[in-house]
């Protein structure tokens, strides 16, 4: 099964928890045991699995990533914007896909783990691809 989640980000940089949307895709499928691939088709976004219970944790993550790769004016990629150029680097470091286990029709995750979309150059219209594989 293949599905897409579409959403709109609202800030230049943010982490958005899409755990419920991914869980929903699993529960609506016939896959009871297998693998769930969540894939981000963007070059200035990424996917992070981490705690979402305290909103300050995602804030720490995005802030520290920005501290490592600040928006500078001397990136080689100039055809778009400096924040776009920084977003490409951030996306490369964070990665754009995550694999999860499906067991007895449920997504298996740690109790505080969320599936966080990392927006590095918003606000924009975004989407994630979800592929569920029985096995």
């Amino acid at each position: 099964m293949f599905t897409k989640i579409k959403f709109h980000t609202s800030s230049r940089q943010e982490l958005i928890n899409l755990l419920d949307e991914v869980k929903g895709a699993v529960s609506q499928s016939d896959v009871k045991n297998g693998i769930c691939l969540v894939y981000c088709p963007h070059t200035t976004g990424g996917l992070v699995v981490n705690s979402y219970l305290d909103p300050k944790t995602p804030k720490d993550i995005i802030t520290e990533i920005d501290r490592i790769i600040p928006t500078r004016l001397d990136f080689f990629h100039t055809v778009d914007t400096p924040s776009d150029a920084a977003g490409h680097v951030k996306s490369s470091l964070v990665g754009i896909q995550q694999l999860f286990i499906i067991h007895e029709g449920e997504l298996v995750l740690g109790h505080s783990q969320g599936i966080l979309f990392a927006e590095f150059d918003g606000p924009r219209n975004r989407e994630l691809y979800i592929k569920l594989i029985e096995g």
Binding site: D74, F75, T81
Partner: protein, 378 residues
């Protein structure tokens, strides 16, 4: 050099939409790299410098720099900038000022001199040329060159070249605002697409306005003077429109700011002077409505250049030259000048004249000599 027929202006109008469709992306690609992100980010003010159509383009795009890019913009004629502007630029930081010289031919001496003067005033100032010929003296005088070269359709009063200058200036404004983070790049890209989509508006307007423009031309071809008025960006359109009438038909015409007309020209004879009120939806529209009423009461023959479904200005108009489609006020000069080219062409034809007074052998010889001199200068 041969006498120039009025029909070449119609050919130019027919190609305007192509300029928008085919040249906007290539121009944009150049502009994105004209300045580095650091330079774009450093800008605090812009001067746009031109003569004739290029000066009109500077006035027509001032609002785009100020309302889209949110950067102060001062349009100036080249002579004014050269002797009364450049030396007084309040520069304080590296790369805080951009001086843009606009020249379709690339051979306007005063603009080249203006850019050279700006360079001497301070190393903080970046100069750029927006030109159809980057090898000309204007391009050579500038630090950066933005080519808005178009495929040649032969001699004519500047129509496609005016549109090319407007497009270049709009794209520059969009880029400044984008890099200065006034809006996201997705918004900037939407504005770029919006410019291209105006090709359809230009096409529809050219078709819709042709017949009424012929009627207005037939009605007014024998008048001694015509007046074109507009506010904000439309002041640039008014100046451009009057210039086309002079260049094409040789009929004395003036472009004036809407409010200034109320202070000065409304007192002029003849009281039935054709008065073209250029009034796109936007900030100055309310005043255009008031002054259309005033003009009508004074006996002026009022021609409204308005959106096709306009009601307010139209109620006071003797004739209407419609614009078909929506355009934001900042970009309105790209569309609202279409009528003027057709109108000027039809008046010229009605009077049995040739463009640029080229039916006068003395003028023809003078223009040919100027052209030869320009080619040597390049």
């Amino acid at each position: 050099m041969e006498p120039m027929k009025p029909s070449v202006m119609v050919d130019q109008v027919k190609d305007l939409a192509n300029v928008l469709r085919e040249q906007t992306r290539p121009f944009d690609r150049i502009i994105r790299d004209t300045l580095t992100p650091l330079e774009y980010r450093s800008l605090h003010r812009v001067y746009t410098v031109g003569d004739g159509d290029s000066f009109h383009a500077a006035i027509a795009t001032e609002m785009a720099f100020e309302n889209i890019a949110r950067i102060p913009c001062e349009p100036m004629s080249a002579m004014r900038f050269l002797e009364y502007g450049a030396d007084f630029i309040p520069t304080a930081f590296p790369n805080d000022t951009l001086v843009i010289g606009i020249s379709a031919s690339g051979s306007t001496l005063r603009i080249a001199q203006a850019l050279a003067r700006a360079e001497k005033v301070s190393s903080n100032i970046i100069t750029a040329a927006i030109t159809g010929n980057i090898e000309g003296i204007v391009g050579k005088a500038a630090h950066r060159k933005i080519s808005v070269k178009l495929p040649d359709l032969g001699g004519s009063p500047g129509i496609r070249t005016y549109a090319a200058s407007l497009i270049g200036l709009y794209l520059l404004a969009i880029r400044i605002g984008e890099i200065q983070e006034q809006y996201h790049q997705t918004v900037a890209n939407e504005m770029r697409s919006e410019l291209i989509s105006l090709a359809d508006v230009v096409d529809a307007t050219a078709k819709a306005v042709e017949k009424p423009a012929k009627q207005v031309a037939e009605a007014f071809k024998d008048v001694p003077v015509m007046v074109f008025v507009g506010s904000g960006p439309s002041y640039g359109t008014a100046l451009f429109s009057a210039a086309k009438m002079v260049e094409a038909a040789g009929v004395f015409s003036m472009g004036q700011d809407l409010e200034e007309w109320a202070h000065v020209e409304r007192f002029a004879y003849p009281f039935d002077t054709p008065t073209m009120i250029i009034a796109p939806p936007g900030r100055g529209y309310w005043r255009a409505t008031e002054l259309a009423k005033t003009a009508k009461e004074l006996g002026r023959r009022v021609i409204a250049v308005v959106k096709e479904d306009d009601k307010e200005v139209t109620q006071f108009a003797d004739m209407v030259l419609p614009v078909v489609g929506n355009v934001r006020e900042e970009f309105s000069p790209l569309v609202y000048h279409v009528f003027a080219n057709l109108f000027a062409s039809f008046v010229t034809e009605g009077l049995g004249r040739m463009l640029f007074q080229t039916d006068n052998p003395a003028m023809l010889a003078k223009l040919a000599a100027n052209m030869a001199q320009r080619q040597v200068g390049q």
